[in-house]
């Protein structure tokens, strides 16, 4: 089973029916998998704060949401995370491609990577870092934890987790 299939299986097993995505090269496989599943309404967003608004609405409408995005999005969603998701106490699993880590070919990505964990820490967002494929064994538990505590939770997935960027 591919890692993307396993991730989306865990989403579905945890009742996630509404997923918004902003693409990243690393996330292409998992986004395809979300799109392919009949159990999930996939709604691409133009910007991640818009996506978090959609997720807040879906949650209040009775569906469990999730967002899939790149770590650069932390820079544009802090206000939304704080004054919507956290302030109204809503659950939001955030599957995040952690660009700018080991094996990253694009130097600019490192500039946001060095702030990513510090920002999440500052926001008191529970954060998990998937570095090897077996780390995803915990995803099911992380999703249960997210919907138990009604908080945004970050799952950072780096290049090594996704198998790198090919030959370099």
């Amino acid at each position: 089973m591919s890692i993307s299939t396993k991730i989306v299986d865990d989403f579905v097993a945890n009742g996630i029916e509404f997923v918004t995505t902003v693409p990243c090269k690393q996330l292409a496989g998992v986004i395809d998998e979300v799109e392919a599943r009949e159990e999930i309404y996939h709604i691409p967003s133009n910007k991640e704060d818009e996506g978090m608004g959609l997720c807040a609405g879906a949650f209040m409408g009775g569906k469990r949401p999730a967002i899939i995005m790149q770590n650069t999005a932390i820079g544009v969603t802090i206000n939304t995370l704080v004054t919507l998701t956290q302030y109204y106490r809503m659950p939001l699993p955030m599957l995040i491609s952690y660009r700018g880590e080991l094996r990253e070919p694009v130097a600019c990505q490192v500039e946001m990577a060095v702030h990513t964990k510090a920002l999440l820490n500052q926001l008191n967002i529970p954060t998990y870092h998937f570095h090897t494929e077996s780390d995803a064994d915990e995803l099911d538990t992380i999703l249960k934890y997210t919907f138990m505590c009604n908080k945004p939770v970050a799952i950072l997935t780096d290049a090594s987790f996704w198998g790198g960027y090919g030959d370099q």
């Binding site: 509404f18 818009e50 978090m52 608004g53 209040m60 409408g61 009775g62 949401p65 004054t83 109204y88």
Partner: protein, 184 residues
Amino acid sequence: MIRSEVLREIAPILRDHLVVCNIGLPSQELHMIDDQPSNFYMLGTMGLSSSIGLGVALAQDKTVISIDGDGSVLTNFGTLPTIANNVADNFILLIVDNGSYGSTGDQPTYAGKKTSLAAVAKACGCENVIECQDKDTGEVLQKAIESKKMTIIVCKCDSGNIKLPVITMDPVVIRDRFMKSVQA
């Protein structure tokens, strides 16, 4: 008519539906005019009224009305293509377009100058877009609800505010009673 007068006029229509209300004065005005558990007041995140409302509409069957402003739509322009491409026939976006950022002191917006939000919404692919004058908003809104077609209403009205208190209700209470209205 200014925004608070429009809201006062449409309040009897709004009270039977789920309403997501824009941050700042619009929420404060609706809260004062006709507070309902089915109103979700945004206390933060300017621009996301339409996104939150679309999310609610896609997740369940009751009619959802997002009350937005021209300035707020301008700040989250990406919402219009998302709405156009994810049709929810129980969703109405009511943009109160007074050509100004009301909550921050009536600074002019581009929607009050050359930019037509109705034209933008149409260009984004929204199929039922109606621009109306303030006094006609109630009738247009009622027809949109009855049509059971996703509709974008751009209500042109005057700029201006009334003095009123901030909302002190706890956000979790706002969210909880709104969710109970969804489930009722």
